[in-house]
Amino acid sequence: MIVFEYIAEILFYGFMILTFMGGFMAVRSKLLMHAVLGLAVSLFGVAGLYFFLGSPFLAMMQVLIYVGAVCIMIVMGVMLGSTPDQLATKNFSGQNLLLAILACSTGFIALFVAIGQTKFAPAAQRVGDMSIRFVGENLLFKYCLAFELISVVLLTAIIGAIILARGGREEKAS
Protein backbone atom coordinates (compact mmCIF):
# COMPACT_ATOMS: atom_id res chain seq x y z
CA MET A 1 0.00 0.00 0.00
CA ILE A 2 2.40 2.64 -1.25
CA VAL A 3 -0.39 5.25 -1.52
CA PHE A 4 -0.84 5.39 2.24
CA GLU A 5 2.86 5.91 2.72
CA TYR A 6 2.75 8.93 0.45
CA ILE A 7 -0.26 10.30 2.30
CA ALA A 8 1.60 9.82 5.60
CA GLU A 9 4.61 11.63 4.16
CA ILE A 10 2.45 14.56 3.05
CA LEU A 11 0.90 14.65 6.53
CA PHE A 12 4.40 14.72 8.02
CA TYR A 13 5.28 17.76 5.93
CA GLY A 14 2.02 19.34 7.04
CA PHE A 15 2.79 18.85 10.73
CA MET A 16 6.32 20.14 10.19
CA ILE A 17 5.04 23.30 8.49
CA LEU A 18 2.44 23.69 11.27
CA THR A 19 5.21 23.58 13.87
CA PHE A 20 7.39 26.14 12.11
CA MET A 21 4.56 28.52 11.20
CA GLY A 22 3.25 28.42 14.77
CA GLY A 23 6.71 29.19 16.07
CA PHE A 24 7.15 32.06 13.64
CA MET A 25 3.74 33.42 14.66
CA ALA A 26 4.58 33.15 18.36
CA VAL A 27 7.87 34.97 17.90
CA ARG A 28 6.94 37.68 15.43
CA SER A 29 3.31 38.57 16.21
CA LYS A 30 2.54 42.01 17.59
CA LEU A 31 -0.09 40.96 20.13
CA LEU A 32 0.52 38.60 23.03
CA MET A 33 -2.72 36.72 22.40
CA HIS A 34 -1.55 35.90 18.86
CA ALA A 35 1.72 34.66 20.31
CA VAL A 36 -0.16 32.24 22.58
CA LEU A 37 -2.21 31.08 19.59
CA GLY A 38 1.00 30.49 17.68
CA LEU A 39 2.34 28.46 20.61
CA ALA A 40 -0.80 26.30 20.58
CA VAL A 41 -0.53 25.71 16.82
CA SER A 42 3.14 24.81 17.11
CA LEU A 43 2.54 22.40 20.00
CA PHE A 44 -0.21 20.76 17.97
CA GLY A 45 2.29 20.22 15.17
CA VAL A 46 4.75 18.66 17.61
CA ALA A 47 1.96 16.33 18.77
CA GLY A 48 1.64 15.17 15.16
CA LEU A 49 5.38 14.53 15.05
CA TYR A 50 5.05 12.37 18.20
CA PHE A 51 2.45 10.36 16.31
CA PHE A 52 4.99 9.76 13.57
CA LEU A 53 7.54 8.73 16.19
CA GLY A 54 5.31 5.81 17.10
CA SER A 55 3.67 7.05 20.28
CA PRO A 56 -0.01 8.03 19.91
CA PHE A 57 -0.24 8.13 23.71
CA LEU A 58 2.27 10.97 23.96
CA ALA A 59 0.58 12.79 21.08
CA MET A 60 -2.66 12.74 23.04
CA MET A 61 -0.85 13.82 26.21
CA GLN A 62 0.78 16.67 24.30
CA VAL A 63 -2.60 17.91 23.10
CA LEU A 64 -4.14 17.42 26.56
CA ILE A 65 -1.40 18.92 28.74
CA TYR A 66 0.27 21.51 26.52
CA VAL A 67 -2.50 22.71 24.24
CA GLY A 68 -5.21 22.11 26.82
CA ALA A 69 -3.64 23.17 30.10
CA VAL A 70 -0.44 25.16 29.66
CA CYS A 71 -1.76 27.38 26.86
CA ILE A 72 -4.95 28.12 28.80
CA MET A 73 -2.85 29.03 31.83
CA ILE A 74 -0.72 31.39 29.72
CA VAL A 75 -3.89 32.92 28.25
CA MET A 76 -5.09 33.56 31.82
CA GLY A 77 -1.74 35.19 32.57
CA VAL A 78 -2.09 37.41 29.50
CA MET A 79 -5.62 38.45 30.43
CA LEU A 80 -4.86 39.09 34.11
CA GLY A 81 -1.54 40.76 33.48
CA SER A 82 -0.86 43.28 30.76
CA THR A 83 -3.41 45.16 28.75
CA PRO A 84 -4.33 43.00 25.77
CA ASP A 85 -3.62 45.66 23.15
CA GLN A 86 -0.08 46.16 24.41
CA LEU A 87 2.63 45.51 21.87
CA ALA A 88 4.34 42.20 22.58
CA THR A 89 7.60 42.54 20.74
CA LYS A 90 10.44 44.99 21.10
CA ASN A 91 11.11 47.53 18.44
CA PHE A 92 14.55 46.25 17.71
CA SER A 93 17.09 48.65 16.38
CA GLY A 94 19.06 47.39 13.42
CA GLN A 95 22.13 46.42 15.41
CA ASN A 96 20.17 44.48 18.04
CA LEU A 97 18.19 42.60 15.39
CA LEU A 98 21.41 41.71 13.63
CA LEU A 99 22.98 40.46 16.85
CA ALA A 100 19.89 38.40 17.77
CA ILE A 101 19.74 36.76 14.34
CA LEU A 102 23.50 36.19 14.43
CA ALA A 103 23.35 34.49 17.84
CA CYS A 104 20.43 32.24 16.84
CA SER A 105 21.83 31.29 13.44
CA THR A 106 25.24 30.54 14.93
CA GLY A 107 23.66 28.17 17.42
CA PHE A 108 21.58 26.54 14.72
CA ILE A 109 24.50 26.08 12.34
CA ALA A 110 26.62 24.57 15.10
CA LEU A 111 23.84 22.12 15.97
CA PHE A 112 23.20 21.34 12.30
CA VAL A 113 26.86 20.52 11.66
CA ALA A 114 27.01 18.42 14.82
CA ILE A 115 23.91 16.47 13.79
CA GLY A 116 25.30 15.90 10.30
CA GLN A 117 28.70 14.76 11.54
CA THR A 118 27.61 12.35 14.25
CA LYS A 119 26.87 8.74 13.47
CA PHE A 120 24.09 7.52 15.74
CA ALA A 121 24.32 3.76 16.06
CA PRO A 122 21.07 1.96 16.89
CA ALA A 123 21.03 -0.26 19.94
CA ALA A 124 22.00 -3.88 19.36
CA GLN A 125 18.71 -5.19 20.66
CA ARG A 126 15.50 -3.56 21.79
CA VAL A 127 13.60 -4.83 24.79
CA GLY A 128 9.84 -4.33 24.82
CA ASP A 129 7.76 -2.18 22.49
CA MET A 130 6.27 1.31 22.25
CA SER A 131 2.91 0.35 23.78
CA ILE A 132 1.25 2.15 26.67
CA ARG A 133 1.26 -1.10 28.64
CA PHE A 134 5.05 -1.29 28.53
CA VAL A 135 5.38 2.39 29.45
CA GLY A 136 3.07 1.88 32.42
CA GLU A 137 4.97 -1.16 33.64
CA ASN A 138 8.24 0.74 33.45
CA LEU A 139 6.71 3.73 35.19
CA LEU A 140 5.35 1.71 38.10
CA PHE A 141 8.26 -0.69 38.66
CA LYS A 142 11.59 0.47 37.28
CA TYR A 143 11.08 4.24 37.40
CA CYS A 144 8.82 4.30 40.45
CA LEU A 145 10.94 6.86 42.33
CA ALA A 146 10.86 9.38 39.47
CA PHE A 147 7.11 8.87 39.21
CA GLU A 148 6.66 9.71 42.88
CA LEU A 149 9.04 12.67 42.64
CA ILE A 150 7.11 14.27 39.77
CA SER A 151 3.93 14.13 41.83
CA VAL A 152 5.73 15.84 44.73
CA VAL A 153 7.04 18.49 42.31
CA LEU A 154 3.54 19.11 40.96
CA LEU A 155 2.09 19.35 44.48
CA THR A 156 4.79 21.84 45.46
CA ALA A 157 4.11 23.85 42.31
CA ILE A 158 0.38 23.99 43.06
CA ILE A 159 0.94 25.14 46.65
CA GLY A 160 3.61 27.62 45.57
CA ALA A 161 1.40 29.09 42.85
CA ILE A 162 -1.48 29.54 45.30
CA ILE A 163 0.78 31.20 47.88
CA LEU A 164 2.37 33.52 45.30
CA ALA A 165 -0.92 34.56 43.79
CA ARG A 166 -2.63 34.99 47.19
CA GLY A 167 0.10 37.03 48.84
CA GLY A 168 -0.46 40.14 46.80
CA ARG A 169 -4.19 40.10 47.36
CA GLU A 170 -3.96 39.95 51.16
CA GLU A 171 -1.46 42.77 51.16
CA LYS A 172 -3.80 44.84 49.04
CA ALA A 173 -6.79 44.16 51.31
CA SER A 174 -5.04 45.18 54.51
Binding site: A8, M16, G23, F24, A26, V27, L32, A35, S42, V46, F52, L53, G54, S55, F57, L58, M61, I65, Y66, M73, I74, G77, G81, S82, A88, T89, K90, F92, A100, I101, A103, C104, G107, L111, I115, G116, F120, P122, A123, A124, R126, V127, G128, M130, F134, V135, N138, L139, Y143, A146, I150, V153, L154, A157, G160, I162, L164, A165, G168, K172
Partner: protein, 105 residues
Protein backbone atom coordinates in the same frame (compact mmCIF):
# COMPACT_ATOMS: atom_id res chain seq x y z
CA UNK B 1 13.10 8.55 0.38
CA UNK B 2 10.86 9.02 3.36
CA UNK B 3 12.15 11.78 5.60
CA UNK B 4 9.67 10.88 8.34
CA UNK B 5 11.67 7.69 9.05
CA UNK B 6 14.99 9.47 9.47
CA UNK B 7 16.52 10.43 12.82
CA UNK B 8 18.26 13.55 11.51
CA UNK B 9 14.97 15.11 10.38
CA UNK B 10 13.64 15.14 13.93
CA UNK B 11 16.93 16.41 15.34
CA UNK B 12 16.92 19.33 12.89
CA UNK B 13 13.28 20.13 13.73
CA UNK B 14 14.19 20.11 17.43
CA UNK B 15 17.16 22.41 16.75
CA UNK B 16 14.87 24.82 14.87
CA UNK B 17 12.44 24.78 17.82
CA UNK B 18 15.34 25.63 20.16
CA UNK B 19 16.40 28.51 17.92
CA UNK B 20 12.80 29.81 17.71
CA UNK B 21 12.63 29.83 21.50
CA UNK B 22 15.99 31.57 21.79
CA UNK B 23 15.01 34.26 19.30
CA UNK B 24 11.65 34.72 21.02
CA UNK B 25 13.37 35.26 24.37
CA UNK B 26 15.44 38.04 22.81
CA UNK B 27 12.54 39.52 20.88
CA UNK B 28 9.66 39.62 23.36
CA UNK B 29 9.47 42.44 25.81
CA UNK B 30 7.01 41.03 28.32
CA UNK B 31 7.52 38.28 30.88
CA UNK B 32 4.68 36.27 29.36
CA UNK B 33 6.42 36.34 25.99
CA UNK B 34 9.58 34.96 27.56
CA UNK B 35 7.52 32.19 29.19
CA UNK B 36 6.01 31.31 25.79
CA UNK B 37 9.49 31.13 24.26
CA UNK B 38 10.74 28.85 27.04
CA UNK B 39 7.95 26.41 26.16
CA UNK B 40 9.46 26.13 22.68
CA UNK B 41 12.86 25.24 24.11
CA UNK B 42 11.32 22.57 26.36
CA UNK B 43 9.47 21.14 23.38
CA UNK B 44 12.63 20.93 21.35
CA UNK B 45 14.26 18.94 24.13
CA UNK B 46 11.25 16.63 24.40
CA UNK B 47 11.24 16.03 20.65
CA UNK B 48 14.93 15.11 20.83
CA UNK B 49 14.21 12.55 23.54
CA UNK B 50 11.37 11.05 21.53
CA UNK B 51 13.47 10.85 18.36
CA UNK B 52 16.35 9.07 20.09
CA UNK B 53 13.84 6.84 21.84
CA UNK B 54 12.35 5.79 18.51
CA UNK B 55 15.57 5.19 16.61
CA UNK B 56 18.47 4.30 18.89
CA UNK B 57 17.34 3.54 22.47
CA UNK B 58 17.53 -0.03 23.76
CA UNK B 59 14.43 0.41 25.93
CA UNK B 60 11.65 2.20 24.01
CA UNK B 61 9.75 3.25 27.14
CA UNK B 62 12.44 5.48 28.66
CA UNK B 63 12.14 8.30 26.15
CA UNK B 64 8.37 8.38 26.47
CA UNK B 65 8.63 8.50 30.26
CA UNK B 66 11.18 11.28 30.03
CA UNK B 67 8.94 13.27 27.68
CA UNK B 68 6.05 12.82 30.11
CA UNK B 69 8.26 14.21 32.87
CA UNK B 70 9.19 17.18 30.70
CA UNK B 71 5.48 17.86 30.22
CA UNK B 72 4.91 17.69 33.98
CA UNK B 73 7.84 20.01 34.68
CA UNK B 74 6.60 22.41 32.00
CA UNK B 75 3.13 22.49 33.54
CA UNK B 76 4.57 23.17 37.01
CA UNK B 77 6.90 25.81 35.60
CA UNK B 78 4.07 27.55 33.73
CA UNK B 79 1.88 27.60 36.87
CA UNK B 80 4.67 29.12 38.99
CA UNK B 81 5.69 31.58 36.28
CA UNK B 82 2.14 32.80 35.66
CA UNK B 83 1.54 33.37 39.37
CA UNK B 84 4.87 35.20 39.68
CA UNK B 85 3.95 37.36 36.68
CA UNK B 86 0.56 38.16 38.23
CA UNK B 87 2.25 39.11 41.52
CA UNK B 88 4.77 41.30 39.65
CA UNK B 89 1.99 42.94 37.69
CA UNK B 90 0.11 43.75 40.92
CA UNK B 91 3.17 45.52 42.29
CA UNK B 92 4.47 47.31 39.23
CA UNK B 93 1.44 47.61 36.90
CA UNK B 94 3.80 46.52 34.16
CA UNK B 95 5.37 43.39 32.74
CA UNK B 96 8.58 44.89 31.51
CA UNK B 97 11.46 42.61 32.54
CA UNK B 98 13.78 45.62 32.86
CA UNK B 99 11.70 46.96 35.76
CA UNK B 100 12.05 43.88 37.92
CA UNK B 101 15.67 43.08 37.30
CA UNK B 102 16.77 43.97 40.85
CA UNK B 103 14.21 41.47 42.26
CA UNK B 104 13.25 43.81 45.08
CA UNK B 105 9.79 45.05 45.86
Amino acid sequence: MMISANLNTYLVIAAILLVIGLYGMLQHRSLIGILISSEFILNGAALNFMAFNRFVAPNPAVGQIYTLFIMGIAAAEAAIAVSVIIAVYRKYRSEDPDLVQDMKL
